[in-house]
Symmetry: C2
Subunit: 333 residues, 2 copies
Amino acid sequence: MKTLSIKDIAVKAGVSITTVSFIINGKAKDKSISEAVIKKVEKIIKESGYKPNQIARSLRTGHSNIIGLIIEDISNSFFSRIARLIEDKAYKKGYKIIYSSTENSVDKAKELINMFKSRKVDGYIISPIKGIEEDIQVLLTDNKPVILFDRNLSDIDTNYVGSDHFKASYQSIESFIKKGKKNIALVTTDIDVEQIVERLDGYKQALIDNNIPYHDDLVVKIHFNQDENETIEQMKSLFRSKEIDAVLFATNYLAISGLKALKQINKTIGEDFAVIAYDDHEVFELHTPSISAVQQPLEEIAETVIQLILSQLSSKSKLENQQVIISSKLIER
Amino acid sequence: MKTLSIKDIAVKAGVSITTVSFIINGKAKDKSISEAVIKKVEKIIKESGYKPNQIARSLRTGHSNIIGLIIEDISNSFFSRIARLIEDKAYKKGYKIIYSSTENSVDKAKELINMFKSRKVDGYIISPIKGIEEDIQVLLTDNKPVILFDRNLSDIDTNYVGSDHFKASYQSIESFIKKGKKNIALVTTDIDVEQIVERLDGYKQALIDNNIPYHDDLVVKIHFNQDENETIEQMKSLFRSKEIDAVLFATNYLAISGLKALKQINKTIGEDFAVIAYDDHEVFELHTPSISAVQQPLEEIAETVIQLILSQLSSKSKLENQQVIISSKLIER
DNA sequence: TTGAATTAGTAAAACGTTTTACTTTAAAAT
DNA sequence: ATTTTAAAGTAAAACGTTTTACTAATTCAA
């Protein structure tokens, strides 16, 4: 069964393609198509189950009602939750989301942007990595709405939604210090993205402000994408060799690996060993003892992102760029 | 800056559009375009950064190199992990994935199928729900490759990849029985999908085969999409009111809620109260005590799905439908 | 009663590709 | 010296829409 085209409908209704198109797009009134014709055509459309070919439509109009979402890794719960929220909200406004993971590869990120571009997505929501500034700039000069989230790119002047990573990190370390911790470690990753750097800066600054010397060897940078077992080994050696009494994990998956490491060396979390994870995760609430975590307000972030992009999409004139910083919450458990 | 079209390239190179098209599509040799022209055109393409408009391409060719993936909920780690694996593998073969969540709504699922259809995706990977049989059948009569996974639809004759839910459930219950458990509960959901039904059947059959009477009130069906707190309350009343010594959770998110419930009523898992979760999750490994789980072989499932769909896509003739059942593993912790 | 305005609708161009069927020139075969 | 074949390339149709500019018929105004 050949799929129906607008032409088939036109023929069946005995009117022109133009007329059908006007009716489909709600412009019938405007273009003075009679009520009778409208009814007749609509009936035929309903009965036949005709659905306009969006590809043809996009080719003609230049837009797609699709928003591209580029994230680091959909299997990371932070991103998958954000993605779900964004998808939900976009869907309600008639937009679809295509998403794809960069896995922190600059090449893949560039490729994704190109793919989205050649598929004529209407806007971009990107959790960016360094090295794609140029590509994003091209989108901007092309007048495409771009919203960065989670991480900012300082060289790029566009919209950004994120939380205050510096502050959250700073406060986490301060909470350790208030509890009398002295040897506070930071386990982070080696990827060079603003949000990770800020977490490191917050760590450093909190130490300095509290007259605790900063020791390079208390900061472990785990190679992104490395095998988890290796990560666990690295952490075990950190936890064993140093007199650490507290550790901040800069991402939730690092914290999870960290918990595994601690379990393996039978080190218990408690009075003399405190832990905070960045980005909450179900594991932390259920862990015994439960684990404190920096909780980013996912719902708010998603809401802001989608609201920003939709207002860009609907406004004909270029809106002013906005930087929205939403506070994180330290959930002490 | 207007975006470049194939025509711009043709003009710049002083050749016809046809020639450029042949070169782009690697048909230059075939169509006897001289080496010199090929080189020249390729150089211009490289320098100008021209990327073919995929929309126009799709309109003309009728395919998109996009595979649609329809799942229940991307924020569920089972699905997000599968999605990531599928995306990865598809990507390597030059296919992109568009995914979207149904949230177990028949209407949304139908809408998604329609959206994918009107966007001319080349194939469909669907974790289906009851009520969309007709829509899937339409895809099939339309000769589109469809792979169902995780759950099968018995009315539909197409490809399916999944694990043996009946068996895994059966074995889980048997393992309880071997440990001397007598009052074994099942916490499941009320959604009417084959995979959930099979888990219930496995539970029942294992009891029967071991001469343990089946009690209706040991099976709790949690309403899908209901607020988690309500779920937790329901579970608390189950765990408190009955003399239960073991419980199988039919999904990982139910198990997580269950663990929260247990924590709230201070019931500890151990000698006289055993737990198994269906679908593994990081929580279970790290929980104290760690929680046994039925582990579906995600990698294998993803691999099989993608391999099936790719072979369908590349073969001109209709291939025979395959039902691939991959065994799950009960991880005893 | 004529010209203007309104109503109801349509023909055809355009979006950017791919692909079929064709042309022209040169080389090879007879 | 003619015909055949091969090499190198191109014109134009087609994919399914949207949209602009148009026509024809009717009504209205003066």
